[in-house]
Amino acid sequence: MTQLNVLEDFPILKQTDKNGNRLCYLDSAATSQKPEPVLRAMDDYYHTINANIHRGIYHIAEEATAAHENVREKVRAFINAGAASEIVFTRNATESINLVAYSWGRQTLQKGDVVLLTEMEHHANLIPWQLLAAEKELRLEFIPVKEDGQLDLEAYAGLLDMRPKLVSISGMSNVLGTIPPTKQMAADAHQAGALFLLDGAQMVPHQKVDIRDIDADFFAFSSHKMLGPTGIGVLYGKQALLEAMPPFFGGGEMIKKVYLRSFIANDVPWKFEAGTPAIAEAIGLGAAIDYLNAIGMDHVSAHEENLTEYAIRSLLTAPGLKILGPLNGKRGSAVSFTVDYAHPHDVAQILDSENICVRAGHHCAMPLHDRFAIPATTRASFYIYNTRDDVDRLLTGLEKVHRLFG
């Protein structure tokens, strides 16, 4: 059986509303809920070894430092990076991508250089390149998204003839659920002389990632979407790239030696970690990784695939409902749809009255919505704590919307 049963660890999901309806949380693509062991780990940290790290000689500072750096190793193992020094802690996936744009991008890219993105990028993998393009007069080009939600790989091949310096794409669309063939695309990008940045915000929570197998040069993701706390994210970068990049933020920890008018930068990854890090949050992220490992990422994927397949099958029976993105095959568990009789805002609001949480809007992917010529969609997204019961409730909720607006 591929159905997980972890509800015990997520007490928030047992909350009921005034009508006795249990919280049906279908917005994990925005942020996941957090299991008890993650919350306990942070609480324990604050209760036993809370101290600033790296420079402390006393025992709790040493323990805090060890715990923090131990998480770096956990993250390394989780995505199978080559070395813990390739793991830079940031605030979130957004900051990770911005770091690459500011540090690597400003150093490397020059007027007229092409950066190749896709039409389905989250704003986090779009605006940083727009800002850089404005500064450096770069050209942004976009791999089109086909009607079925898949990337147009023939067009990709053609666009690579422009010899982009960077190909930067999401490993899983947070709107369409599309999973591009990242390994092949990375190889093609390298073949064309480009670096390959993978936005893993929607990948890491849901599937086993072997970043060395994919061979991405940079990889970005957030803790809060993978059972971990807010306030911390990860940038993976290949060692040689990180070492060649100039520092980004200046401050404590990122230095070896400081004079009034000059400094010597620290080694990677600390070169990129200025100031007091999100220590408790790193501990929480480590606990989230432990939790996911204990389940096994294969089981996580299997559970979600099963549920997503059931959800799509069910949704397609609803009147006037249209799903954006792939309807079958390997795809993520974010399912966005429209109904022809109601606006996504109204859909979400009615569903909320049944204690069902879905997202309505552009999901930080406005250009993608433009591409499909719709202002907004309703999105249900699933994670390990969702069950077929949640899908059934979504369907019942949609019937209510239909009754009111249809």
Binding site: Q130, H343, P344, H345, Q349, A360, P375
Partner: protein
């Protein structure tokens, strides 16, 4: 929460009285709710004394924003442009007959007011554009 979908709102959403465009119009304002991509335009005809003689709204949006637009447009006909500037959030909620609304939906409800005020006062600050 679905008690916000009162009859009045569903009615004005499904059968708006003032949906359309004025061609020509004396004033045309538009704006959007970036949260959901909803777009609203309001056309006004204004006489020499500054009185709104006719008005229409167009665009797309949710039930709340569309009903609000229909009600707001209805309410401003016959009023002086200076009076419109004084219109408040509470006025709009009164028209809708809603007492409480979450922050996101409040933006939906007030989009028509925003279009109107934005047009009358000029574009608010902070609208830097990058490309």
């Amino acid at each position: 929460m679905d008690d916000i979908y009162r009859e009045i709102i569903l009615e004005h959403y499904k059968n708006p009285s003032y949906k359309g465009e004025l061609n020509p119009a004396d004033m045309s304002f538009e704006d959007e709710n970036p949260l959901c991509g909803d777009h609203l335009r309001i056309d006004l005809r204004v006489d020499e004394a500054g009185t709104v003689t006719d008005a229409r709204f167009s665009g797309h949006g949710c039930a709340i924003s569309q009903a609000s637009a229909d009600l707001v447009v209805e309410s401003i006909i016959g009023k002086n442009v200076e009076e419109l500037k004084k219109m408040t959030k509470e006025d709009v909620l009164d028209l809708l007959g809603i007492e409480e609304l979450g922050p996101v939906r409040l933006k939906c409800a007030l989009l028509s007011l925003k279009v109107l005020k934005g047009g009358l006062y000029g574009v608010p600050e902070g609208h830097s554009e990058f490309e």
